[in-house]
Amino acid sequence: MAKLELLQSLSGHKGIVWNVSWHPLGKIFASCGEDKIIKLWGKEGESWSTKTVLVDGHQRTIREVSWSPCGNFIASASFDGTTAVWDKKSGQFECNATLEGHENEVKSVAWSPSGQLLATCGRDKSVWVWEVAGEDEYVCEAVLNVHNQDVKKVAWHPSSDILASASYDNTVKMYKEDQSDNDWTCVATLQSHESTVWSLTFDKSGKRLATCSDDRTVKIWQEFGPDNQEGVNLEDRESIWKCVCTLSGYHTRCIYDITWCTSTGLIATACGDDIIRVFKETDDSDPNAPTFDLIHTKLNAHSQDVNCVKWNPSGNQELVSCSDNGEVKIWKFTEQ
């Protein structure tokens, strides 16, 4: 039997904890929320504790934190309309750059795998791409206005500069840069969810994407690139993403977050029914029509909505989650 064992419950935030982000090595993570602070948590012996608290970066709720791939920067997206970039050149994390431009609430921020690009999105329906242009210098590379509603989440492809965004307009969009004129354009629209798409996560290869929605389903999408073996016809040489699996009937409320483990391939979800669920691809799964089993259901993982779940990038099967009730929890997953 698979189990999700609670290692530690961490309190310290006041009010809703919206998001958590692992340092790329998985020994530290950051959390943020309604109390406008970012907490960095580290492990001493067997127990986790607050190492640093970053304050005074934002005027309103911090909706998401994202650790850069090199581990030297943290970006935070806030309802005050700004995105802050924190670095530790001075030895401690300090905010040395603020990205302004969104008209109002910024909902999500993500670093590209190279660490050279940042993406943000928000209530103003736009997705922005920023490039690191020098020390503390970030320039706007693109403002993408293709969603027609609030954009909830941005995520980068794990190995190339392809960006995906999820929106209240029920779709996911993908973007990439046209090298001929440095212009970013929307290259794919993923349409199948029947309500807000809250979050999305690529698998290790970047060939698959998992999305979760207010329609209580998880969908798995697969890329069919140029010269694909399956004979999927591409009109203009751009990859097509097709929904190859829908996990429905498992979640009883809105699914707020989803995380795909790069080492085990397990998918975990954060749901408004206070439950964390873990899914595993079946052994006899058809690559073009994959099947997944629900292998664990952690009832009452939190006493209120689970807002975010993240697998530890080190692959040690640790999972961190956070909730409306102010708690952050560290879990260990085992499959026997």
Binding site: E100, E103, N104, D124, E131, C140, N145, T185
Partner: protein
């Protein structure tokens, strides 16, 4: 808010436009009647009906006008999704057939003269669409408008020239003021002819950025003043009876025309009553199953006396009116005696942000830039905010590639790429006969006869405008997590 506009508004692969970005927050006054129970409302095909009184009573539709949008800070809009009731092709056709219109103050007026002013960018857009020469397209447009009932169809070269000349003078003044009083916000001077940019600046950066924006009116509004003040007095007509339509490359020009600043209390009318764009003209032709190339051509009108006639012209520099180049050349000559300054642009991070410098004795003395598209507006504003702008002048346009790629230019057809189409329009633009504003005889004549001379108080009042910051109301009612 759906309008009949929206069908034509599908932007293709150029998504760098300023788009509406927030729910409309306009408060709406509702006339409430006492009733015993809650209201019962039926949704019909043709509206909402109140059933509480026992019989169906049609509920009034909430209408939001351009003036509401301009006075509100709730959203940034390029007018594309706003109900532009006074600015539509239907309205234009109605005015043509009824020869009367209702202005923004609700006054209905008889129309004694319908004047159409053509700008070059949408004319080129139609020429490309119907595969005819620009000059031919101009003649056929004149013929088409005349067939609908227009009395005069004019080119706007004179207004474009005056806008450039005024901007050149303004730059000289600002440059000198900067030398004398560097603590004030004189430079960089930022172009003012793009209403999308001006509207965005007013709504989101307010008093921080507005002092930098050139006070010179755009060609559309200078043309408006010419038609309503000068032409109507020449013809001894009431300005309110002259219905003035401009033909423009973007919807944002409708917003500009509707500004209170461009409503004259003395004449009690707007300078421009209706703005019609390339996309709408294409629709009008399609709706009446006409093809521009088959329409009988006609010469542009020239109600300006014996000054040398112009026509659709290009200007040195960009297809957005060439402000950066012409002000750069003028400043190089006036300040540094350089009559043949090379204007060689260097692309910055993308081709829509480029700069040009003038060096004297190895020292940089002028640095100008062209910033097109929303991303580059962002980067420019951020540079200014951090005190890191090295520029004396920036030609700012909200659309990528500037006005030739305006938001209401005809979209590519038959799989043609947006970029190729813009390149084609650019090539067509450079082949148009070139206008030299300082040599335009009509401009000289107008300064003398109409404006009491160059730099007179009247010229300042007629050819310049002002901007207003809009305070942001943060309302938490519609927060979504």
């Amino acid at each position: 808010m759906a309008s009949r506009f929206s069908g034509a508004l599908q932007l293709t692969d150029l998504d760098d436009f300023i788009t509406p970005s927030q729910e409309c927050i306009k408060p709406v006054k509702i006339e409430k009647k006492q009733s015993k129970t809650g209201a019962k409302i039926k949704i019909g095909d043709d509206g909402y009906f109140d059933l509480s009184s026992g019989k169906e009573q049609k509920l009034q539709k909430v209408e939001i006008t351009l003036a509401d949008c301009l006075a509100c800070s709730g959203c940034i809009t390029s007018a594309e999704s706003v109900l532009v009731t006074r600015q539509s092709q239907e309205e234009l056709l109605r005015v043509f057939s009824e020869r009367k219109y209702t202005d923004t103050k609700g006054v209905t007026r008889e129309v004694s003269l319908v004047v159409i002013s053509l700008s070059p960018q949408p004319t080129l857009s139609l020429a490309a669409r119907y595969k005819i020469e620009p000059e031919d397209a101009t003649r056929k447009l004149v013929g088409y408008f005349k067939s609908l009932g227009a009395d005069l169809v004019l080119d706007m070269t004179v207004a474009e020239d005056m806008s450039v000349l005024e901007a050149q003078q303004e730059f000289l003044q600002r440059y000198r003021d900067q030398q004398n009083d560097p603590s004030e916000k004189h430079l960089p001077m930022l172009a003012s002819s793009c209403p999308g940019w001006v509207c965005y600046a007013e709504k989101t950066h307010g008093n921080f950025i507005l002092p930098y924006i050139s006070s010179t009116k755009s060609p559309q509004q200078i043309m408006g003043s010419m038609v309503k003040q000068h032409l109507s007095s020449k013809r001894e007509l009431s300005p309110g009876g002259v219905y003035h339509v401009t033909f423009m490359p973007c919807y944002d020009k409708k917003l500009e025309a509707s500004r209170e600043d461009f409503y004259s209390d003395i004449l009690s009318c707007h300078d421009v009553d209706c703005v019609i764009t390339a996309i709408e003209l294409e629709q009008m032709l399609a709706n009446s199953s006409k093809c521009l190339s088959e329409i009988e051509g006609c010469d542009l009108d020239w109600p300006w006396g014996d000054a040398e006639k112009t026509g659709i012209r290009s200007h040195v520099g960009s297809g957005s009116g060439g402000y950066a180049d012409q002000i750069f050349l003028y400043a190089a000559e006036q300040f540094f005696g350089e009559t043949k300054a090379p204007v060689i642009y260097k692309n910055l991070r993308n081709p829509d942000f480029r700069e040009v410098t003038l060096e004297m004795d190895g020292k940089e003395v002028l640095r100008f830039a062209i910033a097109n598209g929303f991303r580059n507006i962002q980067n420019l504003v951020q540079k200014l905010k951090r005190g890191k702008s090295p520029y004396h002048y920036v030609e700012v346009m909200a659309c990528p590639s500037g006005c030739l790629n305006g938001g209401a230019q005809i979209r590519p057809i038959n799989g043609e790429s947006g970029r190729d189409l813009v390149a084609q329009l650019q090539a067509m633009y450079t082949q148009l006969p070139l206008s030299h504003p300082s040599q335009n005889k009509l401009v000289k004549q107008l300064y003398n006869d109409w404006l009491d001379g160059k730099e007179s108080d009247k010229a300042k009042a007629v050819l310049h405008t002002s901007y207003h910051a809009l305070e942001k109301n943060d309302i938490a009612l519609n927060i979504k997590w």
